[in-house]
Symmetry: C2
Subunit: 151 residues, 2 copies
């Protein structure tokens, strides 16, 4: 089963190419899509965070399931960052997403790498390791938000 | 690679248990989550639909990637149908989601089964088969929407 789960993650990681097949009729569709993908990812990430912070009892199976979903979801939202969809509202992407696209893509890659590690670690069922991996993943969120997202 | 992809789907199907680990602080969070999950699923499903309908050129690899994502996403939204979140607005769930929950769950299962078949078929790269499987999957959407969703 562990091998199967790891194979699954490997497959999902290989779906990074999905961004190449992403097609949106209108910029608003891309914005709606990326927000939705982040919403789903954040819901599952938050459940691991609650366990990591001791706000919820540690359920190893639930942590592993949630982490697998986070790893899968982390591949999706970036396709929605199409040109011309920056903003100034709270939480919207700054224009530098597009003027510093290489850095932005690198931040995305870091998140994907860290949540892939988190998913692998979570299968081990060790809370301390989950806490550490969760912290590393959360740091990639913050790093990107600090630089590219309107506070 | 095919085996890997099928293993991935098998794993994701096994994540149906995810609904059991779903936890929402507030009913609004559940509503936001399920809408988001449907939004992501619909975006990818729609891309296959465009190919099936001839509105977009058939790209076998893209169809397979999109179908894999749809199959994964189909597991998620139902956890967001928590008690007390029916509505009367266009597109919101009717109260019978909860009074006829067994039927609703059965409709969800049908969708999950059909999109899992679609994902398997899409790997074969045959447009006619993709069209047929897409049609069967789309019929499960309509069946559920007709009965449980406000028009």
């Amino acid at each position: 089963m562990k091998r199967l789960l790891l194979a699954s993650i490997a497959t999902l990681v290989s779906l990074t190419s999905v961004s190449a097949v992403a097609q949106f009729q209108k910029p608003e569709d891309a914005v709606k899509y990326r927000k939705a993908a982040f919403t789903v990812m954040a819901a599952h990430f938050g459940r691991i965070g609650a366990m990591a912070a001791g706000r919820a009892p540690f359920d190893a199976a639930a942590a592993a399931s949630n982490a697998e979903i986070v790893a899968a979801m982390s591949k999706l939202p970036y396709a929605g960052f199409v040109e011309g969809t920056s903003g100034t509202d709270k939480g919207s992407p700054k224009a530098n997403v597009w003027t510093e696209r290489a850095k932005f893509d690198d931040e995305a890659k870091k998140l994907q790498d860290e949540v892939t590690k988190l998913a692998a670690v979570a299968k081990g069922g060790n809370l301390d390791q989950v806490k550490a991996a969760f912290g590393s993943a959360a740091a990639t969120c913050k790093s990107c938000h600090d630089h590219f997202r309107n506070p």
